[in-house]
Symmetry: C2
Subunit: 340 residues, 2 copies
DNA sequence: GTGAAAGCGCTAACAT
DNA sequence: ATGTTAGCGCTTTCAC
């Protein structure tokens, strides 16, 4: 329970303790240039003994280099972004770059603020979720003079580069698969469309595919907050009481889909005989449910990894490709989407 | 898809563009000191027009102040730490401090590395999970000369201050509650005890309480990785095939408990008549399961909030209380722990 | 292989 | 209300 009020140590302290110039101490601590084994020893010993921790602020200012990558995402409690982070971290582990995360809560104003904060630390690159940003945000990123990779979505024009999937296409694919399986009376449940552009695009693609088959969504319901599992359960019950004729339910994410599935199984519905189900994301968390929900892989970890790789590539070679990288999500039919 | 190679703007650029000294520009941008409305206008216009983003690196070096709080936690995909983060963020939102997160993956060496990295940015404070750290880590934190709050656990001696619950006591409480309810033949499932000190302490407290009642755990099983829900299901099945006489299963976390619950309900077990269940954490995510699992609130958001408040308090007043704050988790009996 | 000088972009402290 | 000076703790550059 002690807290010494000592001023943090500086290079100078190590220099004095070891009898070596500050410059050489700096070289040793960064493994730079030629330093004799003897002085290296001396310096390292002194540094460790004092408990010296370098001041990166001063280092960054002097070298004009900051080994940080700003990662800006809407949320962390979403099951999807932690996996993106895993991909990013893995890819950066082999480099000397470090990810630093900012959360926007799906609010454009907050995104702008977080971006401003992060850019003021002069990171080496930016990885940011989505293609929709305020004008100010876009301007900041364009002006920062660093690689910027927009992730998760490819339906739009990136500022600099993008890696993701087409959510519109993902929605279309699921719509087609459902029609091909023979379902016709379809209900939709999801988050309130608005802040979440990717959910909206999936919804648009979905309705588009249905329309092409001459089918329209017969019922829909949206939710804002609360436990997704519980919401899925509640919304499913409400919808089936209202529209008992439905033979398929498309959920905008796996969690509410799982809630719906649990309710249906509990009530003795024949899934997928009487009614089929599908979600989105392929969250690993849900392995272990009584039945496996049909879903679609959103390539989260790969997106993170590729984004980080694009940053490092453009850092070593400013003319590295960039552009848009569209990954191909696959449908996983699980146990709840079967031809009938 | 453009990326101008322009050098980042400096205060000097804004100064020249506005015809005001660098110092006054700095004052305006930080809302410091008296600046006439007229010059303030001029400066703000120029800054915005140029798209100037201050360089916090230089600012921090000059002012010797960094408005960052290092938050060091084992994992983000755990359901528990995102909620701690929520508490921290909420509490810091009212201040000018910002949380920066580092992940240790429950590895002491990684904790040490992450800590070193973060401290080298000279944060204003540290919030770190757990009371168990390597000697080097403890030394670094003690030497940093900043407030350090260790969270989640109070079974041990903090470096500087701590907020959390006693996991040993939590385990004991659950053990007592189970005995009082009349269960006697008890099985335990959890993560491999080792890296996760808090799970280990709960287990110790649990067995201790049982021992006091003359009861011993009859079967146990540990897992390392994989989907927790699926693991809970598998382990439960394996354990009940091995030890069909069990009348209670205590899980070290809610996710595996939920997996077990789903399997039991599916197999037609009478829960809690024939067999009772309990988990730990009270994760909100699980609202929506067929039955509500007995569990114990781990006070995650409050812990985060209190920790952040302790940091701010000790920043304004270096002699602010500190010490150990032990919160009191409550048992939530749900539908799976009933007197018999 | 090692050291000395200059300066990174800001802000504290002191003018005016 | 505004400007000037010095310097934060490092690294770059150049000298030896």
């Amino acid at each position: 329970m002690t807290r010494p009020a000592t001023r943090p140590l500086t290079l100078r302290d190590v220099s004095e303790a070891s009898g070596v110039s500050e410059m050489t101490v700096s070289r040793v601590l960064r493994n730079r240039g030629d330093v004799s084994a003897a002085t290296r020893e001396k310096v390292l010993r002194a540094a460790k003994q004092l408990g010296y921790v370098p001041n990166k602020i001063a280092g960054a200012l002097a070298s004009q280099r900051v080994n940080l990558v700003a990662v800006i995402i809407p949320s962390m409690s979403n099951m999807v972004f932690p996996e993106v982070m895993t991909g990013i971290s893995r890819a950066l582990e082999e480099t000397d770059l470090q990810p630093v995360v900012g959360i926007t809560d799906y609010l454009p104003e907050k995104e702008e603020k977080v971006l401003y904060e992060m850019l003021s630390w002069r990171p080496s690159g930016v990885i940011i979720a989505g293609l929709e940003h305020s004008d100010a945000s876009r301007a900041m990123m364009a002006a920062a003079g660093i690689p910027v990779v927009e992730i998760m979505d490819t339906d739009g024009t990136p500022i600099d580069a993008a890696v993701g999937i087409s959510h519109r296409r993902a929605g279309r694919m699921m719509g087609q698969a459902i029609l091909e399986a023979g379902y016709r009376r379809i209900g939709f449940m999801g988050t309130q469309l608005g802040a979440d552009h990717r959910a909206r695009k999936r919804f648009e693609g979905f309705t588009e595919a249905l329309a092409k088959g001459g089918v329209e969504i017969e019922d829909r319901e949206f939710y804002a907050n609360g436990s997704a599992l519980a919401k899925g359960r509640e919304m499913t019950q409400a919808m089936l009481e209202r529209s008992p004729e439905l033979d398929f339910l498309y959920y905008s994410n796996d969690m509410i889909g799982a809630g719906g599935l649990l309710w249906l199984v509990e009530k003795g519905y024949d899934v997928p005989g009487k009614i089929g189900l599908a979600g989105f994301n392929d969250v690993r968390l849900l392995q272990g449910l009584p039945q496996k929900l049909a879903t679609m892989d959103s390539c989260r970890e790969e997106i993170g990894r590729r984004a980080a790789e694009m940053i490092t590539a453009r850092l070593t070679d400013p003319d590295a490709p960039g552009g848009k990288v569209e990954l191909s999500p696959k449908i996983n039919r699980g146990d709840t989407l079967r031809s009938r």
